[in-house]
Symmetry: C2
Subunit: 323 residues, 2 copies
């Protein structure tokens, strides 16, 4: 009888475990966590008025500043600068203009004074003239060795642990989790499957021009100069329509570049969730919003309340930041 | 004992059923069927050298002429012409040019003499100036009432039963089935989920320009004039890269517009399958290839053999055509 009682007890605890396990252990027990879990419970409970069929449980997330850090500059820009410097070591003619020469020399003031044109030149030089798979090999090689100037961490270790848990939690509850980022789609897909568990088909981003060619009998996809699509601001709902073809029910971002995506998502009928990651943690991460040169968040802060969007206070709501 | 024997027999037959059930009942027992089933068995058998993990079991299919018929003209063009005529009844000014006036009057010779420009004008007039959801409501309403001039069938009943079975079979075996068509993505998504069981996110097509706007406080996605992307020929591998981000292992098409897609798919390492639907059945469907004004198939026929692509002979290989 004792054995049977013990086995029953073990059995019960095994069965009960999934119900009581905390799906978001790196989140403090604040209202933010309660709101998220409450929403997920409502849309997944077949007896709830807010029940949403799994096919419509689509969640979209910005990447830079939402799933991983974005300071002191977008990591893709750091990749481009370091790649340019590496290439210029072998072949100085790669830095063809004064702007790029300044970037190679580490004179960021001169480089940044070039504005958008300087950035486009940097991206063209480092992101085109090779096949998609060659480019992604370069990105993977960089991610393996590069370290963040402040934290000393690998960049793929600067993803937010609480957001990793949120992605897993949503998927465990039948959601499809998409990335909708201003970052380059080829750049992101070099790490998003390993870092976030998100397959390449669910990664939407900005894109350079791509062409198909047969070179010496071998078909290749080539990265060409020029921009095909910028997945930012009003471009985000357009990209969601183009690639998903359905309005999401959950959207997460961190800057005003995500405003239109949250607006589009939460204007749909039925239960909707808008989430903004507010960078309030100068100790463990960074603190910035209205006046930041990167990830500027102003309209989102002003209107989150009236729109019913949840603003995550990183310092208050997150127990840990990094994995 | 008798009861037990009967129950055992029933049990065995129930358990065995999935193994012996024919996944492609509308296909004749020709080499085509044997090749398809053999390939699927190899890539799904964990003990096979050709085993492919489910995440990489990606299959792409053209739509017009591959999954549904395309004669006497692409059904989307028939939709556009009928929609133009309906709209012109209420407001004759809709047919603003002589070309469109000819189309409204049924003078197809004059209309078709306008070439690509006439088609673009027709598409612009019927596919823009409204929201994506308004447009898709129009498509659905048309599909409900419109009937094909030759067969008298609803257009969604002119999908190929053998291809429906192939799609289901592949999905049952862990494949993701995508459409990669020159047809408009908004047009297709109005019926592809019901007709083929393919979710909107797995439907890739040509696209007009789309913009996001807030109109009287309501966010909408608007269909604007102008072409954003043509998903045909070399555009197909580019679109596959853009939206799937992985090379498929199975591609099916019917015209030289699908050549690059089949070439890209089957040039990858490991097991690959290229399939061409050859329209050889003037009795039950249509017979056309090298000289056709639509769905022209020449290079595909010439090179299928050396490339190891399977050419489906509709008349020989398919037991039935329509559902």
């Amino acid at each position: 009888m004792l054995v049977r009682t013990v086995m029953l007890a073990v059995g019960v605890s095994l069965i009960a475990a999934p119900t009581f396990a905390d799906p978001l252990p790196s989140w403090n027990d604040t209202d933010a966590k309660t709101e998220i879990v409450g929403f997920v419970n409502r849309v997944t409970d077949p007896d709830s008025d807010d029940y949403v069929t799994p096919a419509d449980r689509i969640a979209v997330f910005d990447n830079d500043g939402t799933l991983w850090a974005e300071q002191p500059a977008y990591f893709q820009i750091l990749f481009a600068l370091e790649t340019l410097r590496e290439k210029a070591k072998d072949d100085p003619s790669v830095a063809a203009s004064d702007t790029l020469k300044a970037a190679v020399a580490g004179d960021m003031e001169t480089f940044l004074a070039g504005g958008k044109e300087a950035l486009l030149e940097l991206v063209t030089t480092t992101h085109s003239g090779m096949s998609v798979s060659q480019f992604q090999d370069e990105v993977r090689a960089w991610l393996e060795t590069a370290r963040h100037p402040k934290t000393g961490r690998a960049y793929t270790q600067m993803v937010y642990q609480p957001m990793l848990e949120l992605l897993s939690y949503l998927r465990d509850e039948g959601f499809q989790t998409y990335i909708t980022s201003g970052g380059g789609v080829h750049f992101m897909r070099a790490f998003t499957e390993d870092a976030y568990g998100i397959p390449t088909s669910q990664v939407i981003g900005s894109a350079g021009k791509t062409s198909y060619a047969v070179v010496d009998g071998t078909p290749v996809l080539m990265k060409d100069p020029g921009i095909a699509f910028i997945d930012d601001k009003e471009g985000k709902p357009v990209a969601i329509d183009s690639q998903i073809g359905k309005r999401p029910i959950f959207a997460g971002g961190n800057s005003d570049g995500d405003f239109a995506m949250l607006e589009w998502t939460t204007a749909g009928d039925g239960p909707r969730f808008g989430l903004i990651v507010h960078h309030t943690d100068a100790e463990r991460e960074w603190a910035y919003d209205r006046d930041s040169h990167i990830g500027r968040l102003e309209r989102g802060l002003d209107e989150a309340d009236e729109r019913g969007w949840l603003v995550i206070d990183m310092a208050e709501d997150w127990k840990t930041i990094w994995p």
